[in-house]
C-alpha cells in the first residue's frame, strides 16, 4: 500500500470476534452475503442434479424418492435461505441506514440476532438435508406432510420457523429505522425508492411470516400427536393448510421481487442520468403491491376444490396486482426515454430485469385466468413462470445491485469487461433454461416427475433447458470469482464511481463505521441527476 488507508468499517477492527460480535449493519450485511452465497450454491447444486436427471426421458440418474427430495430441498433452500434474505439482508442491511443518513439500524443487536437465527435455521436445514431430507415439495402440503411421509418434516419446519424469525426481525428493524432514523431534511418524499421498496417488503415480512410460523407449529403438532387439524379422516380440512400456507407464501414472492424493483429503480435513474419518472407512483405502487399481495393467495388453489365464486374473486384480485407492477415497468421505461443511457454492468442487469420480469408478470396473468390455469396447473408452465419472477426478476436485481454497490461495499472496482460478459451469459443462460419450460408446460409436461419416457418428444426442449442451466451456472460463478479477485487486486474505488445521487455515495468507499464523517442534512430531492450533471455545478453540500 503506497499510503496508509483511511479508517473504514472493514479495517477498523480485525479478528474473528470483531465480525461475529459486530453490531455494525455493514459488517452484518457481509456476514449475510457470505452465508446466503453458501446456500445459493447448495440450492444450485440440487437444481443441477434435477436438470441432469431430466436430460433423458428415462429416470436413470437418481431414484424417484431422491428426485422428490432434490426438488424439495432445492425449493426450500432457495426460497427460505437465499431469496427471502437476499436483497433485504445484504443490500438492504448495508444501504438502508446509509441512504436515509443514519448511523446504523435502530436495533443493531437485534440485527445481529437475526443473522444468528438465520445461521441456526440454516444449520438445522443442513442437518436435515444430510440426514435424509424432505420429499413433500417446498409447499409441504397436508395431509401428505402431516400423515404420510416419513421424512424429516418437523426438523425442516423448525429450520424454516427459526429462519422466519430472522426475516421478521430484519423487517422490524427496517420499519422502525425508516420511521425514526431519517436524517434532518430526509422527508418521505425525498427517500430513495429503494427505501420505499424495502418498507413495503418489511410490511409483508412482518405480517406474513408469523402465519407460516403458526402453520408450521400446527403441522408439527399434527405429526407428533395426530390431532386431525388437517386430516380429513378426523374432520380436518387440508384446504385450510393450503390457505394458511399460501397466505404467507404468495406474498413471499413479493418479499423477493419488491427489493429487486427498488434496486432496479436506483440503477435506471443513475445510468440514464434522469430523475425517476413519476416518483410517487413508483413509491406507492410498492405499497400497493404489498397490500394486493395479501389478497391473491388462493390463485394457487384453483384446482384444489375451492368454490367457483371464491376462485372468481381471487382471479380478479390477481389481475389487480398487475396494475402496480405495470406502473413500475412503464415508469422505468419512461425514465429511460431521452435519458443519457450508459451500458455498464448494473444497467445490463436492470435491462434484463425489466424484460424477464415482464415475461414473468404477463405469464402470471395467464395463470390468474381460471381457464388457462386449469390447463397448465402443476406443469412446467408454472415452473417457468415463477422462475422468471424469482430468478429472472429477483436474482437479476440482486446481481445488478451487487455490481452497482460493490465499489461502496468493498472499496474496490470490479472488472467491468468481465462483468458485462457475465451479465450477458446470465441473460442467455437464463432464457435458454426457462423459456423451453414454458413450451414444455403448455404441451403438458407435469412438474415434479423424474421420468417422462412415455413422452420422449419432450426431450429436445429438456436438453435445451439443461444446457441453459449449465450456461447459467457459469454466469453465476463468474461474478463470485471476480468479486473475490477484485477484493485483492481491484483498483481502489472512488467515493462515487457512478456519479450517482443518494447519500450512500456522499461518504467514502468503504464507509467509516458510523457511515458519515459529518451528519448529513438533506436539502435536495431524490435523483437530482439534472443538478448533478449541470455544467459548472456547485458542490452539493453534504452538511452545513
Amino acid at each position: 500500500m503506497p499510503q496508509p488507508e483511511r479508517e473504514n468499517y472493514l479495517n477498523k477492527h480485525y479478528g474473528v470476534w470483531s465480525w461475529l460480535l459486530t453490531t455494525d449493519h455493514k459488517r452484518i450485511a457481509l456476514l449475510y452475503l457470505i452465508s446466503i452465497t453458501f446456500f445459493f450454491f447448495i440450492g444450485g447444486f440440487f437444481a443441477l442434479l434435477i436438470r441432469l436427471e431430466l436430460l433423458t426421458p428415462a429416470g436413470d440418474l437418481v431414484q424417484a424418492d431422491t428426485y422428490n427430495k432434490l426438488f424439495t430441498m432445492h425449493g426450500m433452500v432457495m426460497v427460505f435461505f437465499f431469496l427471502i434474505p437476499s436483497i433485504p439482508a445484504v443490500l438492504g442491511n448495508f444501504l438502508v441506514p446509509m441512504m436515509i443518513g443514519a448511523k446504523d439500524l435502530a436495533f443493531p443487536r437485534i440485527n445481529l440476532l437475526s443473522w444468528y437465527l438465520y445461521i441456526i435455521g440454516g444449520v438445522m436445514m443442513l442437518h436435515c438435508m444430510l440426514t435424509g431430507g424432505v420429499d413433500t415439495g417446498w409447499t409441504f402440503y397436508a395431509p401428505f406432510s402431516t400423515n404420510f411421509t416419513n421424512t424429516k418434516i418437523v426438523e425442516a419446519g423448525l429450520a424454516i420457523f427459526v429462519a422466519g424469525f430472522s426475516s421478521i426481525l430484519t423487517g422490524l428493524n427496517f420499519v422502525v429505522t425508516i420511521h425514526r432514523m431519517r436524517a434532518p431534511g430526509m422527508t418521505w418524499s425525498r427517500l430513495p425508492l429503494f427505501i420505499w421498496a424495502h418498507y413495503a417488503t418489511s410490511i409483508i415480512q412482518l405480517l406474513g411470516t408469523p402465519v407460516i410460523a403458526v402453520t408450521i407449529v400446527l403441522v408439527a403438532a399434527e405429526r407428533a400427536l395426530h390431532l386431525g387439524i388437517f386430516d380429513p379422516k378426523l374432520g380436518g380440512d387440508p384446504l385450510l393448510f393450503q390457505h394458511l400456507f399460501w397466505f404467507y407464501s404468495h406474498p413471499a414472492v413479493y418479499i423477493m421481487i419488491l427489493p429487486s424493483m427498488g434496486v432496479v429503480t436506483e440503477i435506471i435513474a443513475c445510468f440514464s442520468r434522469k430523475r425517476i419518472f413519476g416518483y410517487s407512483f413508483v413509491a406507492f405502487s410498492s405499497i400497493a403491491i404489498a397490500v394486493f399481495g395479501f389478497l391473491v393467495w388462493a390463485h394457487h388453489m384453483f384446482v384444489a376444490g375451492m368454490s367457483v365464486y371464491a376462485a372468481l374473486v381471487f382471479s380478479l384480485l390477481s389481475y389487480a396486482v398487475a396494475v402496480p407492477s405495470a406502473i413500475k415497468v412503464f415508469n422505468w421505461t419512461a425514465t429511460l426515454y431521452k435519458g443519457s443511457i450508459r451500458y455498464d454492468a448494473p444497467m445490463l442487469y436492470a435491462f434484463g430485469f425489466i424484460g424477464l420480469f415482464t415475461i414473468g408478470g404477463l405469464t402470471g396473468l395467464f395463470l390468474s385466468a381460471l381457464g388457462i390455469n386449469v390447463h397448465v396447473t402443476d406443469t412446467y408452465f408454472v415452473v417457468a413462470h415463477f422462475h422468471y419472477i424469482m430468478v429472472g426478476g429477483a436474482v437479476m436485481g440482486y446481481l445488478g445491485g451487487m455490481h452497482f454497490w460493490w465499489p461502496k461495499i468493498s472499496g474496490k472496482l470490479y472488472p467491468e469487461g468481465w462483468a458485462r460478459l457475465a451479465a450477458l451469459i446470465v441473460f442467455i443462460g437464463f432464457n435458454l433454461t426457462f423459456f423451453p419450460q414454458f413450451l414444455l408446460g403448455y404441451m403438458g409436461m407435469p412438474r415434479r416427475y423424474y421420468d417422462y419416457s412415455h413422452m420422449p418428444e419432450f426431450q429436445i426442449l429438456n436438453v435445451l433447458s439443461t444446457a441453459g442451466a449449465t450456461v447459467l451456472g457459469v454466469g453465476y460463478l463468474l461474478p463470485m470469482l471476480y468479486f473475490l479477485w477484485s477484493m485483492r487486486y481491484g483498483k481502489p474505488a472512488p467515493d462515487n464511481p457512478w456519479n450517482a445521487a443518494g447519500l450512500e455515495w456522499k461518504t467514502p468507499s468503504p464507509p467509516p463505521t458510523f457511515n458519515f464523517d459529518e451528519e448529513p442534512v438533506v436539502t435536495w430531492e431524490a435523483y437530482n441527476y439534472e443538478e448533478l450533471d449541470a455544467p459548472n455545478k456547485e458542490e452539493v453540500p453534504v452538511a452545513r
Partner: protein, 236 residues
C-alpha cells in the same frame, strides 16, 4: 468489543450513558423502542391470527360438536383467570406510572404483584390442564369423548373426532398463550431486578413501558380466547 461509542466524535455534549451511540437524542431512542414493540405486536397478532382463523373455520363447520366440547371446560376457572389478568394489567399501568413519577417502592411492588398474578394465572391454567388430562380430553391415543350430548340437539351425540379438533385447538391456542405468559414473566423478572437496582428514572424507563405493552398484549389475547373457547353457545 468491535464497536465503541466513543469513536464517533459526533456527540459533543456530555454523554448520557443510556443513550446508544447511533441515536441523536433520547427521545428518538425512546420512540424507536416503542415503535419496535408495536410492530412486533403486529406480527404477534398475525401469529395468533392464523390460529383464530383455523378455530373459526372449524367452529362454524362443527358448531354442535365444538359446543359440546366447549361445555366441558371449567368456566369458573376461566372467568377467574380473566379477572386475574385484568388485575395484572392494572398493576402494569401502575408500574409504568410509578417509573414515570420516580416512585421506586410502588414500581417494585407493582412489578412484583404483576408477576404473582401471572403465576396465579399459570397455576389455574395448570389445574385446568390437569382436569382435561384426567378426563381423557387431551388429544392423542387415550383421547375419549363418548356419548356426550350436543347442546341444543336432544338425542344427538358429539362426534369424538370433531371434539378432538376442539381440544387440539384449545391446547395449541392456550398453550401458546401460556408460553407468552412465561416469556412475559421472564421480562418482568428482569425489570424487577433492574428496578431494585434503581436503574429506572423518570428520564429513562423505556423497558418498563415496552415490557408493559407486551404484557397488555398477552392479556388481550386471553380476552379473546376466553369467550371464543369457553362462552360461545353455552347454555346453562
Amino acid at each position: 468489543m468491535p464497536d465503541s461509542s466513543t469513536a464517533t466524535g459526533l456527540h459533543t455534549e456530555a454523554h448520557n450513558p443510556a443513550l446508544l451511540h447511533h441515536f441523536a437524542e433520547p427521545q428518538q431512542q425512546r420512540d424507536a423502542a416503542s415503535l419496535g414493540m408495536w410492530v412486533f405486536l403486529a406480527t404477534e397478532v398475525m401469529f395468533f391470527g392464523g390460529l383464530f382463523c383455523a378455530y373459526l373455520v372449524y367452529r362454524l363447520k362443527y358448531f354442535g360438536d365444538f359446543g359440546a366440547a366447549s361445555k366441558t371446560l371449567n368456566v369458573t376457572l376461566g372467568a377467574t383467570n380473566t379477572a386475574v389478568l385484568i388485575c395484572s394489567s392494572l398493576t402494569v399501568v401502575l408500574a409504568v406510572w410509578a417509573a414515570q413519577s420516580a416512585r421506586r417502592t410502588l414500581l417494585i411492588g407493582s412489578l412484583g404483584i404483576t408477576m404473582i398474578l401471572g403465576l396465579v394465572f399459570l397455576g389455574i391454567k395448570g389445574v385446568e390442564y390437569n382436569d382435561k388430562f384426567v378426563e381423557h380430553h387431551v388429544p392423542g391415543a387415550s383421547f375419549s369423548f363418548e356419548k356426550v350430548p350436543t347442546p341444543g340437539h336432544p338425542g344427538q351425540y358429539a362426534d369424538p373426532h370433531h371434539a378432538q379438533l376442539f381440544f387440539s385447538l384449545y391446547f395449541v391456542m392456550t398453550g401458546l398463550h401460556a408460553l407468552h405468559m412465561i416469556i412475559g414473566l421472564g421480562i418482568f423478572l428482569w425489570l424487577l431486578i433492574m428496578a431494585c437496582k434503581g436503574r429506572f428514572t423518570p428520564e429513562w424507563h423505556t423497558p418498563v413501558e415496552i415490557g408493559g405493552l407486551y404484557w397488555h398484549f398477552v392479556d388481550i389475547i386471553w380476552i379473546y380466547l376466553f369467550p371464543l373457547l369457553y362462552l360461545i353457545d353455552r347454555h346453562p
